[in-house]
């Protein structure tokens, strides 16, 4: 190809490719806007189920949880986020038993690594996708997960 025809073919292919690019952006101008208008769209907002935001301890209707206060989650936590206080009680048949007193979790130190949930032998805790966790003071980030007056769910025999 001679340099003259190269010049002109380059010019016209350049123009056509520019017009092609503009047609693409023209179509993009009319596409649906993807922005999520957050505080207004709370009702329709979809957060993935596995999104880890807040550690919870599920309680059933009788206010019973599954935590045996074994302390494995506390040991596995890389940041020392979880602190478990347990108490010794004596059951009706005279045996001594370790039960959960307070289960404290510090959101401010948590990295949401999920190791506590994975290692829990009795599936007592799980992460929920409730993401609106902002508070005004740091002390409010420390939450007690076991409800007041709750006790260990008895295994069915």
């Amino acid at each position: 190809m001679s340099s003259v025809s190269k010049y002109f073919s380059g010019l016209f292919t350049g123009i056509s490719s520019l017009l092609k690019g503009m047609s693409v952006t023209w179509k993009e101008l009319w596409t649906k806007k993807v922005t999520q208008q957050y505080p207004e769209n709370r009702d329709t907002l979809v957060i993935a189920d596995r999104f880890r935001c807040e550690l919870t301890m599920p309680h059933d209707a009788n206010n019973e949880h599954a935590c045996t206060a074994c302390g494995i989650c506390q040991m596995n936590c890389p940041n020392g986020t979880i602190s478990i206080a347990s108490a010794m009680i004596e059951t009706e048949d005279g045996k001594k038993k370790k039960v959960l007193d307070t289960y404290k979790w510090d959101l401010g130190m948590c990295t949401f690594c999920n190791l506590c949930v994975v290692t829990c032998p009795s599936n007592a805790i799980k992460f929920e996708n409730t993401f609106e966790n902002a508070v005004f003071t740091r002390s409010k980030l420390v939450q007690q997960l076991n409800h007041k007056g709750s006790k260990l769910r008895e295994k069915k025999k």
Binding site: L11, L18, G21, M22, V24, T25, L29, K33, V34, T35
Partner: protein, 373 residues
């Protein structure tokens, strides 16, 4: 005073009434003085208001091109966003830079704003809405608008900063090259119109806009003018003087507060000025669409006031510039200079010769079909 019933919305009614009332009670000197002050104040206000509207429009349209909503929190649809930004920029501290050339540093933004302001005055916004109307209007506009580059170079030099310097030098190279193309494109139309005065040029386009009148040659000149005008405003694919990924913000890196505001304002107004000069020269300025022989249609079109036509046409061109800006990636400096010196300039030179031949041999549309146009 007689009301103009066919065009009741024109500003000429108001201005001629004002002029005759003032002349009735005051001497010539005071009438002129009052009118000059009013025109100056109105132009300054229009300058700021148009910039605010443009900033809002650009942010909105940019967002739509990127499938976003853009500003929508301050006021209804975010209409007050640019007002809020203006207040913020007015309140910011003007930082004094160590070891900068203090005098030039402070002078630079004024060069920018004065250049674009004096070009702004030469724009015909509507019938009777033109402050400066020389018989060499086109030359005046090209001359005055190129003063802005002094501001850019001064800003880059006096900041004592490598990024600013590189940005200013790039801007200088770009501006000098593309001003040539823009000038030649305007010259093509001057050949066609046979005048350099904006008002006369607009009057001649009543039935046939210049872009149609000179067909091939005019359209080529129009495209070249838009490209080079776009390059002069340092925007879109030609924004390498302020390429933020390499030069933080280019020549205005060190500026803050109102001084930065001046650069910002001048950039947006230059976009408007380029679009409005293109409107005036190529698209019939403030004239409505008129077809020879269709009296009813012409009457309806003329009922729409001239400033609406002007701003409508200008808005279309501004939209085109935004569309280009968000379509193409940034050019490298060698590609930029290649485009100008190897493509636009030769095409332009050939184009002027073609236009001269068209005019001399009577091949323009008005010469070919005198009954239609």
């Amino acid at each position: 005073m007689l009301l103009n019933y066919s065009q009741p919305l024109e500003v000429t009614n108001l201005t001629s009434w004002l002029d005759s009332t003032l002349r009735g009670s005051l001497s010539e000197f005071w009438v002129l003085l009052i009118e000059f002050v009013i025109v100056g104040a109105l132009l300054l206000t229009a300058y700021a208001v148009i910039a605010l509207i443009l900033i809002y429009a650009e942010r909105k349209i940019t967002a739509f091109f990127q499938a976003r909503f853009g500003p929508n929190r301050v006021g209804k649809w975010g209409l007050l966003q640019s007002v809020a930004d203006m207040i913020k920029i007015l309140l910011k501290e003007i930082v004094k830079i160590n070891r900068s050339d203090r005098f030039l540093f402070f002078a630079a933004p004024f060069f920018m704003i004065i250049a674009s302001m004096s070009t702004f005055g030469a724009i015909a916004f509507g019938k009777g809405l033109q402050a400066i109307d020389f018989n060499i209007g086109v030359l005046y506009v090209t001359a005055v608008s190129s003063l802005g580059i002094i501001g850019v170079l001064l800003a880059g030099w006096s900041s004592n900063n490598k990024y600013s310097m590189i940005g200013a030098m790039r801007s200088g190279a770009q501006f000098v090259s593309y001003e040539l193309s823009a000038g030649f494109a305007l010259m093509t139309i001057v050949v066609l119109a046979g005048t350099m005065q904006f008002s006369e040029m607009i009057d001649k386009q009543q039935y046939c806009w210049n872009i149609f009148n000179g067909h091939i040659s005019s359209i080529v000149a129009f495209v070249i003018y838009l490209i080079s005008g776009h390059a002069e405003t340092n925007r879109g694919p030609f924004d390498l003087p302020e390429a933020e990924s390499e030069l933080t913000a280019g020549y205005h890196t060190e500026y803050s507060g109102l001084q930065f505001g001046f650069f910002y304002l001048a950039e947006y107004l230059n976009m408007f000025i380029i679009a409005s000069i293109a409107t005036t020269v190529f698209l019939g300025g403030y004239l409505p669409i008129q077809v020879k022989g269709w009296e009813a249609f012409n009457g309806i079109m003329a009922f729409i006031p001239s400033y609406v036509w002007f701003f409508g046409k200008t808005a279309v061109l501004i939209f085109l510039s935004l569309w280009v800006r968000w379509s193409f990636p940034r050019l490298r400096i060698d590609q930029l200079l290649n485009l100008e010196w190897k493509y636009l300039l030769p095409i332009n030179l050939v184009n002027i010769v073609v236009m001269v031949i068209l005019v001399l041999t009577g091949l323009t549309l008005t010469d070919l079909f005198p009954s239609l146009f």
